[in-house]
């Protein structure tokens, strides 16, 4: 190879690499620019969730067939990567027009400028007909709505409760704290269950604030002071919160609950390893199928301030950098039909967001097998704190609750959590705009 050839090779290598790198950046610019030429992009977290994805696809096809101005295109992501994809594409201003969002994240995304207020005018089903927890609001504006909600509940076997002489609670007369403790003590003394109570402590992430902050609220505490959203002082470390923390830890020290439960808590319950399972409505159908009439769907325990469960599941929203907001709005209004509320709830085994839809799903009608879940979603649901700080608060709460279960000093752990949350709120100017 002479010098000339070598130079040529070197030059072309540089040229090829440079082009490749530049082209890589360039092609990213061309992709996904919202609604050009009447095309509206729609993102959903349902890539790994065939049943729900099919309904999304059906709704989109119906919309595309119903008019000629806009064409909605679906892009599906696996749930685990969905939030990261949204955050990444927002920082490069590439958000799709229509996207779904997990309820507790709505204030964070609205504050961050991802979402636009919906300002819906039409649609067959009025927003007022929905369960309050299925409408995502921030600062008195509606940013999202969902077709369904899920509910926390306690599953138990009737035969087991009867055998131990334990009263079956009802939504109007749930277990009190004392009754619940006595029931656990009886079940433990019966010797059949190593851990009578299954709370899913082996889970992680959003499950912790979703599952255990309602119990904290039933004691009288909360994640943050909701009157101002400027401090957690008194809410997360007040006397009632400290009481909750000690109770939570005592479940482990008394041997009622595993410090870290197995990886499939529902199977453990079905296999008779635990007597009472704190779980979500998503397992209700499976449990009914396996246990039939022996299965009890019980209301949460009243620890003083009434039974509480968490509210809000996945909801639909439009992004703030959508080039054709009227198109996105037209799509979202189109979806607000009782038929679609029905299909989403049926496909996902969740609680439909309207009474009209609930009445049409076997089991969810008044007096039906799953009516306790509908009642819980309506009467006991507390939405997670409506603040852009929620992801931070949730992360701190998860760690604090895990520490408490593992034996940390409850008072010190709660005080440290309050200190961190307050510092974060202050650092971000209390999440003012």
């Amino acid at each position: 190879m002479n010098a000339k050839t070598r130079r040529l090779v070197a030059a072309s290598l540089v040229a090829v690499t440079a082009t490749a790198v530049l082209a890589g950046c360039g092609s990213a610019d061309r992709g996904g620019s919202g609604a050009q030429g009447g095309v509206l992009k729609l993102w959903t977290h349902n890539a790994g969730n065939a049943a729900e994805y099919d309904v999304v696809e059906k709704v989109v096809n119906d919309f595309n067939a119903s008019q000629t101005t806009y064409k909605v295109e679906i892009e599906a992501f696996p749930q685990g990567a969905y939030n990261d994809a949204v955050v990444a594409s927002s920082s490069s201003k590439k958000l799709p027009c229509i996207l779904d969002v997990d309820g507790p994240n709505v204030p964070n995304w609205a504050w961050g400028g991802y979402l636009a207020p919906l300002e819906l005018k039409g649609g067959e089903v009025p927003l007022d007909d929905q369960l309050p927890s299925t409408v995502g609001k921030y600062r008195d504006e509606v940013y999202a709505f969902g077709f369904y909600d899920v509910a926390l509940t306690m599953f138990a076997r009737k035969s087991v409760l009867d055998e131990h002489g334990i009263r079956v609670p009802t939504p109007d007369r749930p277990w009190t704290r004392a009754e619940f403790s006595a029931a656990l003590a009886d079940l433990k003394a019966g010797g059949k269950f190593e851990y009578p109570l299954e709370m899913g402590t082996g889970g992680s992430g959003e499950w912790w604030p979703y599952a255990y902050s309602p119990q904290l609220q039933s004691f009288g505490g909360d994640l943050v002071d909701r009157s101002s959203y400027k401090t957690a002082e008194g809410a997360l470390n007040g006397p009632t919160a400290r009481d909750w923390a000690k109770w939570f830890r005592s479940l482990v020290t008394d041997g009622y609950m595993a410090q870290k439960s197995g990886s499939s808590p529902n199977d453990d319950f079905l296999n008779g390893k635990s007597a009472i399972e704190w779980d979500g409505s998503w397992d209700a159908a499976k449990n009914v199928e396996k246990l039939g009439d022996d299965l009890l769907i019980l209301p949460p325990v009243d620890f003083g301030q009434g039974p509480k469960i968490g509210g809000a599941s996945w909801q639909w929203a439009m992004s703030s950098n959508c080039a054709q907001p009227e198109g996105a709005r037209a799509f979202l209004e189109f979806t607000r039909k009782t038929a679609y509320f029905l299909e989403f709830a049926k496909a996902t085994g969740t609680i439909p967001a309207t009474d009209a839809a609930a009445a049409k799903i076997p089991g969810y009608e008044p007096g039906g097998r799953y009516e306790p879940l509908v009642r819980a979603a309506r009467d006991f649901a507390v939405v997670r704190p409506v603040t852009p700080a929620y992801p931070y608060i949730a992360s701190v709460f998860e760690k604090t609750a895990k520490d408490i279960v593992a034996g940390a000093d409850p008072d010190a752990a709660l005080d440290e959590a309050v200190k961190q949350i307050d510092a974060n709120l202050k650092l971000n100017d209390f999440y003012a705009d």
Partner: protein, 311 residues
């Protein structure tokens, strides 16, 4: 590339400059050859790292309506008061302090074992190497089951001691969780460094070993005065790579314990990821990364100095 043209004309003009021109041409070619790699490194490594270090001095967040602003050393001041951060530094150093010597020693032992000429050498080499080619996530999940309160490990302890000793709940007990992760990590990583040691062992000339056996020295003396000095370069490489990978402990913690119980397994990288993504505190996570970078750099420089060739 425009520079090439005047260069060529100049070389024709002056006869005496041919040699230096040829050198410069070669240099240019080298530059051309290196440029793809350099460009990629710049775009995907150097620039992001510099940006991340810059972010450490701002108020940047993952999600925020307001642009980041310069806040000086605020993030570092917060770090100094963060009990989880201090714990993470301690855990990271404790992990490295145990893993580096144990894993390097175990790997050397394995390498010496499979270096011999006997039947089944390849079989053992493969067996020791299998954990390395298995995904760390998979290994961590499997070991989570082994470490359960009623898991295989505790069943074995129970069986061997005839029920006298009850094994702890390894990953849920703050006093055993880090040790459990260390043990698993050494098991997983030793195979890789065994191969490196093996490569080093095979560069030692056979004559030296023969000469030693003719002199009739003991196995230990032979190892001490022939094998060990022959492994000087390999030793440095193994030491530095294990140290760096030990400091960046993350996957096992993320899968097995999420930093718990009671922060007993929290590490610097785990805390950076948690602050940066879950808690959306980009700037704070960048500050942790910067501190992490400086710590690893210092340790590497010290090691480099201790293991340098003494001329």
């Amino acid at each position: 590339m425009t520079a090439a043209v005047p260069l060529r004309t100049r070389s024709r003009r002056t006869r005496g400059g041919t040699l230096s021109t040829a050198r410069r041409r070669e240099g240019l070619t080298a530059l051309g050859m290196a440029s793809p790699a350099v460009l990629l490194l710049l775009v995907f490594f150097v620039i992001p790292v510099v940006l991340a270090f810059g972010l450490a001095f701002t108020s940047a967040r993952l999600i925020s309506p307001t642009p980041a602003r310069f806040v000086g050393l605020r993030n570092f001041a917060m770090l100094a008061e963060d009990p989880v951060f201090l714990r993470s530094v301690l855990n990271t150093f404790a992990f490295a302090a145990v893993v580096v010597p144990v894993q390097a020693g175990l790997a050397l032992g394995l390498a010496l074992l499979v270096n011999g000429r006997f039947r089944g050498t390849n079989f053992f080499r493969t067996v020791y190497f299998i954990p390395v080619v298995t995904s760390m996530v998979v290994v961590s999940i499997v070991w989570t089951f082994l470490y359960q309160k009623n898991g295989l490990l505790n069943r074995i302890i129970d069986g061997v001691t005839l029920g006298l000793v009850r094994g702890p709940d390894w990953l849920n007990d703050p006093s055993t969780s880090l040790a459990a992760i260390i043990f698993m990590s050494v098991w997983q990583g030793a195979g890789f460094h065994m191969i490196i040691w093996l490569a080093g062992l095979q560069t030692i000339p056979a004559e030296l070993h023969e000469a030693a056996s003719i002199d009739g020295v003991s196995r230990w003396t032979r190892f001490r005065f022939v094998t060990w000095p022959g492994l000087r370069a390999t030793r440095t490489f193994v030491l530095i790579t294990i140290t760096i990978s030990a400091f960046s402990l993350f996957t096992q913690v993320n899968v097995m314990t999420q930093g718990g119980p009671l922060d007993s397994t929290s590490t610097l990288v785990y805390q950076a990821v948690r602050s940066g993504y879950q808690q959306q505190q980009t700037a704070y996570a960048s500050a942790i990364s910067l501190v992490f970078f400086v710590l690893v750099l210092i340790v590497s420089l010290v090691q480099r100095r201790l293991t340098r060739e003494k001329d």
